[in-house]
Symmetry: C2
Subunit: 186 residues, 2 copies
């Protein structure tokens, strides 16, 4: 191989390497970065900036107080779901539960999110990776973080701490997909 060819090959290899690094850093379903070998789940940083919003529920509770529940997912999750009807292995969902305020505005009595109460994190696991860990089951890892200690995971058993609220969504892989416009056709 000539010297010239060698140098062109070198340039090409550098470019290919750069592309691969870039491609990996853009990886869509990298939820496993948030999980250690024992299955402990961290809450992702900066998800309000970096994740895509799937949608919001506004429940009015039995004392007539409202909350707002924002759900975020890794970018690309919605596109994958629209194509396949499934959440891919490694999907990360973050549900941020807010207290609200409200006021009479031009469109009526408008409610909006104020301070965060808790965060729920779910990570899709198609492979049953942590059979001995009580926070993994039904195809997901489950985690809970409260605003008084935002980085401390406090759920101990997904069946006790998480599942009861998801029973109505069992048929849609435990996720309330009907309230997430981006999961439908654009």
């Amino acid at each position: 191989m000539s010297f010239r060819m060698s140098m062109l090959m070198l340039a090409l290899l550098i470019l290919i390497g750069y592309q691969q690094v870039k491609s990996e850093s853009d990886s869509t379903y990298n939820g496993w970065d948030l999980v250690d070998k024992a299955g402990n789940i961290r809450k992702p940083a900066d998800f309000r900036d970096l994740y895509q919003a799937l949608g919001v529920y506004t429940p009015v509770d039995f004392n007539n107080n409202t909350e707002m529940h924002y759900t975020y997912a890794l970018p690309g999750t919605a596109e994958y779901y629209r194509k396949t009807g499934k959440f891919p292995d490694g999907t990360v969902l973050v549900k941020e539960v807010f207290a609200t305020d409200h006021a009479q505005m031009t469109t009526g009595d408008a409610h909006w999110a104020t301070s965060t109460k808790v965060w729920f994190v779910m990570i899709k696991d198609d492979k049953g990776r942590y059979p001995g860990n009580p926070l993994w089951g039904n195809g997901w890892g489950w985690a809970l973080f409260k605003s008084d200690a935002p980085d401390k995971q406090v759920a101990t058993d997904f069946k006790k701490d998480c599942l009861s609220c998801h029973i109505p969504a069992k048929a849609t892989d435990w996720v309330y997909v009907q309230g997430y416009p981006v999961l439908k056709s654009q």
Copy 2:
């Protein structure tokens, strides 16, 4: 310069060129791509996937019906706003107004977005680019699209069609920033 150096320089220039192309395609505030020379505004495609959600208002109107108003912005808008307290020139905001459904769920009477009624688009203009166009003023371009013709801009005068609903938000550059968690510190 030696031949070896020349080739290394070539490899370097290719890499720099690639980085620049990438950087431009990631450009944060490219709202001007959506505006023609006369100031006509297009609605961005795929904003549910590609934009960041700022937040959601749930107004209850005077007939006790709810809507949900989702607001999306170009990625990077929130970070810029947190640092400066301003929306940068070229900011694109899309407000998607949804009809809702609701049901008794485990957290109460939960409301969620269903079909889109209208979209509002605002584009931040620090320079008064279209002084003769009645859809530009107060530092923004204003546009309205309805679900029966989603790509047809139908507002004719921002003072008549848009501004009245924004009067309560005059002090915050006509945007209801208090309901957008990502604009506050993370």
